[in-house]
């Protein structure tokens, strides 16, 4: 029965190919990419637990194409005082009271790294040197360079951050939530034009030149 064997082999081969295609991500699909950051900054804590608005740090998202990474001075607004997690500080204070001494400063290891990176010994004092190198965060969301995406356009149209970035407020480390493929963008544009965003109508064009120029 040679012909049987042949057919069987062919079928197996096809199945294998199909399987591999199915399981493998398509080229350029970075979905789920969650690079390790130099400092273990937790969006879950800041955006989730503490409920800080995304735009408090990523203020540029409203005005420009890039959402922007907050500059060190923005972090220092709080971390000038908050040097470690709340309860740790609390314990120290109570402990200090018992022992009748000034509570000593406790700095969590990650903030230590942060202070070091921006060149401050004592958070209370201003940075010794303005030129200090800053933290080199790893970009979690990369679009190809031939795509131009403008945050402000989407924010002002009322698109929520989570629509593209997913539930960041629940992510310990930020990960690319959507595929960010062209098809994904285009379909959202079509949908929004059809049914509007958050109830109000928008014209999300699907012209090529909206993103490619």
């Amino acid at each position: 029965m040679p012909q049987r064997i042949i057919t069987v082999v062919l079928l197996i081969g096809l199945a294998a190919v199909a399987a591999s295609v199915g399981t493998r991500r398509l080229p350029d699909n970075q979905q789920g990419y969650a690079p390790k950051q130099p400092i273990a900054y937790s969006h879950r804590l800041h955006a989730g637990e503490l409920g800080i608005d995304c735009r408090f740090c990523h203020s540029a998202a409203e005005q420009g194409r890039h959402a922007g990474i907050p500059s060190a001075d923005v972090c220092m607004k709080c971390h000038k005082y908050v040097t470690s997690s709340f309860d740790v500080l609390q314990q120290e204070i109570t402990k200090a009271d018992e022992e009748k001494r000034k509570p000593e400063r406790i700095i969590s290891p990650d903030l230590q790294k942060f202070y070091a990176a921006i060149g401050v010994e004592d958070p209370q004092k201003p940075a010794v040197d303005a030129q200090a190198k800053t933290v080199a965060w790893v970009r979690a969301h990369n679009l190809p360079d031939y795509v131009s995406f403008d945050h402000s356009a989407h924010v002002s149209a009322g698109v929520s951050c989570q629509k593209c970035h997913g539930p960041v407020e629940s992510m310990e480390r930020v990960r690319q939530f959507e595929t960010l493929s062209m098809g994904w963008c285009v379909n959202c544009h079509r949908e929004s034009t059809a049914i509007g965003v958050e109830g109000h109508p928008v014209n999300a064009s699907t012209d090529c030149s909206v993103c490619h120029y």
Binding site: P2, Q3, I6, V186, T206
Partner: protein, 178 residues
Amino acid sequence: MSHRVLFASFEHEDDLLAAATAIRQKGLRIIDAFTPYAVHGLDRAIGLKPSRLTWVCFVCGMTGALGMLWFEHWAASVSWAVNVGGKPWNSLPSDVPVAFEAAVLLAGFGSVFALFAVSRLYPGKQARNIFPGTTDDRFVLVIDETNAAFDVVRVEKFLLAFNVVETCERIQDGGRYS
């Protein structure tokens, strides 16, 4: 079910044709014939009906054409309608060439694979040529012996008139002979 058959081989297509016709006039059944090339008129001589493969071809062709027309329309004006040079969303004339090509492609492959299927031709199949040379210069008739009135000797004698070269008997079982 299996039954006996008589093989008679000739060296010339004219003898084959003559013999085939004569034998069928004698009321004997001709099962098949083996020839090195398509002998003109043999199908009529051994009584084969015209093939239905033409219909396969037609159906495939139509599927190709209509399928492609629909796809072009869907892709160009439903799935993603793009303004190309101010042309109408769905411009039928420009869809014709591709549809035609698709029709030809499907029709061609359809009928060929149909042929392979019905004639059981596939890679690795072993051909059983009782008489070698049916692909070179021999013409062989396969005559059914199941008929009670069948007498091998008389048939052989009868065939001599047609310069039969060789005869032999075999058991036919389904598609093959032993």
